[in-house]
């Protein structure tokens, strides 16, 4: 048991517990705050995987923007006190069964994958992930098209969301 493994187990425990609280807490603002904790845990997992840029972007985009948007939306749609009612629908046990089955199935499938328990090679010295990412996102042989298409996607999302939320009948 090395230090890295202990850190991983702590992070994974925090993440999964927070994720569990997201889907079970009855107060929606609490659920959103637990989501923040889970997202932060995922950011730490990224940091553990040496993907520093992705970890920071996770905090900026998810915690800084998406979680804030969720909290705003919850505050806007809470006219009656929903917090104390039943939070699950009548088919919740089917959902639980499907979730457990999907977890079991995923683990079963992954376990037959031959690289399942391989370990990572050391990162070559002088490797700069952000630089490589810049290369990949801008070179025509890389991912220029997804890069530009993502911009169009976000434009479409903005236009659609503005139209939907604020089109006065």
């Amino acid at each position: 048991m090395t230090g890295e493994k202990i850190i991983f187990l702590i992070i994974a425990g925090v993440t999964l517990f927070s994720g569990f609280m997201v889907v079970t807490s009855s107060n929606l603002v609490h659920a959103a705050l637990w989501l923040v904790a889970a997202l932060f845990g995922v950011a730490m997992v990224f940091a553990l995987l040496n993907a520093g840029f992705i970890a920071v972007v996770q905090v900026v985009v998810y915690i800084g923007a998406i979680a804030i948007l969720f909290i705003f939306a919850i505050m806007l749609t809470r006219r009656e006190q929903l917090d104390h009612g039943v939070q699950v629908n009548k088919n919740w046990w089917v959902g639980a069964l499907v979730a457990v089955a999907s977890f079991a199935g995923l683990v079963f499938l992954l376990q037959s994958f031959n690289g399942f328990s391989k370990t990572a090679l050391a990162i070559p010295s002088g490797f700069d992930a952000v630089n490589q990412l810049g290369d990949a996102l801008t070179s025509p042989a890389g991912y220029v098209l997804p890069f530009e298409v993502a911009s169009v996607l976000l434009l479409a999302a903005l236009v659609g969301a503005v139209y939907l939320a604020f089109n006065k009948k």
Binding site: V59, G64, I68
Partner: protein
Amino acid sequence: MNFWSDPLKVAADWLTGILVGWGMNAVVAHILLAFLGILMLASILMVLDIFLVWLERKVVARFQDRLGPNRVGPFGLIQPFADIIKLLIKEDTTPDGADRVVYNIAPLLSMMSVLILWAIVPLAPVLLGVDLNSGALFLIAAGAIGTLSIIMAGWASNNKFSVIGAFRQVAVMVSFEIPMLAVLLIPTIFAGSMGMNTIIQKQDIWYFLLSPLGALIFLIAAIAELGRAPFDLAEGESELVAGYNTEYSGMKFGMFYAGELLHAFTFGGFWAILFFGGYRFFGLEKVSPFLSIAIILFKALIGYWIIMWIKYTMMRIRIDQMLAFNWKFLTPIAFVLVMVTALMNALLRDASSWLYITGMILSNIILGWVSLEIARLVSKKERERVEGLKQPALSKAEGVVEAHH
């Protein structure tokens, strides 16, 4: 390699030697020492924070033609310590119906979001903290945690003023994050890296001279991010009491207050790092790390002073004006500036450095001038429109006056 030229490494080696001599694992000793070092840095920052309270009160007194604290100790220097003792022995009240856990976590997060910023501040060429290769984004990430703490504080207090204050503050903070992100691209383009230390190392000529407009936009966005005047509508006293921290008392309020002051000082430091060469000052940084620390702290203090100057000179802006100013003026300019800078950088890269600098400055000045002219034109039209609406009523009143004559 002596203490004068690299104090941190000498001290760390010496202490590691002692700890390993006691039979401690080298890795554990390293982590323990890093922890203690960070604890020391954070404690120094908190002491500095106490000093900043005194400084702010003295400076604001001068701006308002008063003396400021001058009774306790020489120049009133003991005054902030007396304030802290008061905060420590105050009763800590929690309002009815407050969400206790969230209510108590919020001040911790608020302070933490400021302290972690110092992880990426390079104090000297050898005193780095961490040279993160996504440093510029780390700045925004820490700001995101601060935003979250404000929402938590406002929501958990179960107070209408707190909630409204928090939401206004957050709306402003997130809005001004966009121009800030955009102008952070500019030092990144010049230095070819997001790491704070690399940005300083590459800054043979201050980026302020290459992009004065960018530096200005960064300062404005930073003040809005801090929630200080003229962007302090969360604590519009006449309408919202004290904003999101209305229900906080004692040390928990102290954390929000101290966090704000330290945040202002920290942003002064980042302004210096990104646009004024950080710890570099005509080669003086090569003499000793101690001199570098003095230089960067001095530059940060100047930045802090400018933030204070603006705070005590300008009046508060209304929220609609503030958001309009951001989305209709600052954000478009910031993005156009990024495009112009990228283009000029690509075109003039191979030209002589004088041509490069002149081109950059000229493009900045022209862009600033054109946008100001456009803003002036639009506001003139707007004024005429508003006056046109008033016209019928006015002419009627004039008619009455004429009749009297």
